[in-house]
């Protein structure tokens, strides 16, 4: 059995990246994710890796683009305002079908907002984010252990589907310390990177690009990108269910607030209320089928988020019109993180 460590979520993500074979990191300081570049600036040089503190988030994502074009595992991390700046590069990477991992320890907004736990960037993360109509895979850890495991998983998804992948946390997940079992890197058969630039080396010219000017070329490219998204939807959805088998009210929540909701659901069960929790782990692809089954079984859903209502739109789309979907949100800001008791009150209120 592996040893147990006691580390921060941000450190766990950095450790997961190293275990996954990432040796190239490019980033820019921003709260509440700076533990990630700090950890990697210390550890990567010991592994003959490269750490660059870039001049901007824009430069960092483009360094990632360049390294990734060479076929190596590479990563950047940031927080909401910095992620906004990276959207240009993420769009170009999606267009050029480049793998790469982006960790977003999101904070509150809009604008400079604050540094508190927030889920305000759900739309930005799962609906594309940059220009051009694309989707990237988005993973939402709810613990230090998942920060580690899902970061490793992100690298596999990125290589398998040739896409940027985002690990979306917040200051609760990034800053808290918990026990971590540093599991070995998962084994997944991945396609060879025959597209990566290397200097021709006697072979054919390789070009990594997102410009397609030929008649019909870009339309075909867009359909190909969409087909990859459909394939991820079919094969890569992850979710977790707690007490859903006989639930007549289903709570949906992800990430940090799902932990609080989990406690509230357990408290409701002690009161004899048949309540369950559905937690999407992949926000994109969204686990539509599993949620539809659980939601229709319960007949009623209470969606809880740290915003004014974003994932709830996908919840409604997934379960269809036969299921009543209510929403309870706490937009981010100091003092806005709900307590389990507060969520229990909401559960009681919506429990028929």
């Amino acid at each position: 059995m592996s040893k147990r460590l006691f580390v921060k979520g941000n450190e766990a993500a950095a450790m997961g990246a190293i275990e996954a074979g990432c040796r190239y990191y490019f980033g820019y300081p921003i709260t509440p994710q700076s533990d990630i570049p700090e950890y990697l600036s210390r550890e990567l040089p010991k592994l003959d890796g490269e750490f660059i503190q870039a001049e901007s988030e824009v430069a960092a994502i483009n360094m990632l683009l360049g390294a990734s074009a060479c076929g190596v595992r590479a990563m950047t991390s940031s927080s909401s305002p910095g992620i906004s700046l990276k959207q240009e590069g993420i769009s170009y990477m999606a267009g050029a079908e480049l793998p790469g991992v982006i960790i977003n320890i999101s904070r509150s907004g809009p604008g400079l907002g604050g540094i508190d736990a927030s889920q305000s960037d759900y739309f930005q993360s799962v609906k594309g984010g940059g220009h051009g109509g694309y989707r990237i895979a988005v993973l939402a850890p709810n613990s230090v252990q998942e920060m580690y495991d899902l970061t490793m998983h992100a690298f596999d998804l990125a290589d398998q589907y040739r896409t940027p992948v985002m690990v979306l946390g917040d200051s609760v997940i990034g800053q808290m310390k918990e026990a971590l079992v540093p599991n070995p890197r998962p084994v997944r058969e991945l396609p060879a990177k025959e597209w990566a630039v290397r200097g021709k080396s006697g072979g054919e010219q390789r070009i990594v690009k997102s410009l397609f000017l030929g008649d019909g070329e870009l339309e075909a490219h867009n359909w190909r990108l969409h087909a990859k998204y459909r394939q991820m939807m079919e094969k890569e959805c992850l979710s977790e269910e707690f007490e859903t088998a006989d639930a007549t009210l289903l709570v949906t929540a992800y990430g940090s607030v799902a932990r609080i909701a989990h406690t509230a659901v357990a408290m409701a069960r002690e009161e004899g209320l048949k309540v369950g929790l559905f937690r999407p782990i992949t926000l994109c692809p969204f686990p539509e089928e599993a949620l539809k089954a659980a939601g229709q079984r319960a007949g009623r859903i209470l969606d809880i988020e740290l915003n004014t209502g974003q994932m709830v739109e996908d919840v409604r789309l997934a379960v269809g019109s036969g299921v009543e979907v209510s929403f309870y949100g706490r937009p981010p800001g100091a003092g806005s993180l709900p307590s389990p008791e507060e969520l229990l009150d909401q559960i009681r209120k919506h429990y028929a």
Binding site: I52, V58, A59, V197, R198, G199, Q205, I207, K209, S210
Partner: protein
């Protein structure tokens, strides 16, 4: 019969699609000759930028990564750090490098990245139709400076070769022109010198190439060529502003 003039190995046998009188072809050839001379075609990774310069991969027979507008030096940084044995150059225009990409070029240069930057300065945004560039000369009329560039409002044109020469990480910075056989020969020498720094792992090298854009200048190719000598070179002096093989020490 002995063949005395051939196409560089690093260039493809394709027809140009650039406008009549455009000098991208001349600059391409000089860069390709330098790659051939150092025997690095098979390990070269070019970084294309946004503008007419993006079509690099259509002409060069080398691996190429396409960068977002202005970001080529950051992309090249990622490439070179991931593949330190490769030979990496960016090929950028004036809007790309000296306006939207100012932060990226300054910092890649200042870090002393072991890459070469070829900067084609034609004092205008070519592909978008001749708008005012950061290098547009004072008084020059463009589609977005219809009354001429106004120094009081638009600032003076940026002299990138001189700016970059000030930075600690820069080993080599020079400006050349391709408006006459003599200047083309000099440009060839300078580009080779710049590549030599990279071949020897001695740091960041930069060559600014003054060239024409007859279409967007609204001039015939020969008249455009004359403008380089009469208007551009007096403001953008040719020369080597830094040649310091020990800049990295």
């Amino acid at each position: 019969m002995q063949q005395v003039f051939t196409r560089p190995e690093s260039l493809k046998d394709v027809q140009t699609h650039f406008c009549p009188g455009c000098q991208h072809g001349t600059v391409h050839r000089l860069v390709a000759e330098a790659l051939d001379q150092f025997g690095v075609q098979q390990k070269t990774i070019g970084v294309a930028s946004v503008g007419c310069s993006v079509f690099l991969y259509g002409y060069f027979d080398i691996d190429v990564v396409e960068a977002p507008h202005g970001r080529a030096p950051a992309v090249a940084t990622g490439v070179k750090r991931a593949r330190p044995d490769s030979f990496v150059f960016t090929y950028q225009g004036d809007g790309d490098l000296a306006a939207i990409g100012t932060a990226e070029i300054i910092h890649a240069a200042n870090r002393g990245e072991d890459i070469t930057v070829i900067f084609v300065n034609n004092t205008t945004y070519g592909m978008t139709g001749g708008q005012m560039a950061p290098t547009t000369l004072v008084g020059q009329k463009t589609s977005t400076s219809p009354y001429g560039r106004n120094k009081a409002k638009d600032g003076a044109p940026i002299k990138m070769a001189e700016v970059l020469a000030q930075l600690g990480g820069v080993a080599y910075s020079a400006r050349v022109a391709v408006n006459s056989p003599k200047n083309v020969l000099q440009a060839k020498k300078v580009i080779k010198r710049a590549f030599q720094f990279q071949a020897e792992g001695k740091g960041f090298s930069f060559v600014e190439v003054l060239s024409s854009c007859p279409t967007n200048w609204g001039m015939a190719p020969l008249a455009a060529n004359e403008r380089i000598g009469e208007e551009m070179i007096p403001y953008f002096p040719l020369g080597v502003f830094k040649d310091d093989p020990i800049a990295q020490d």
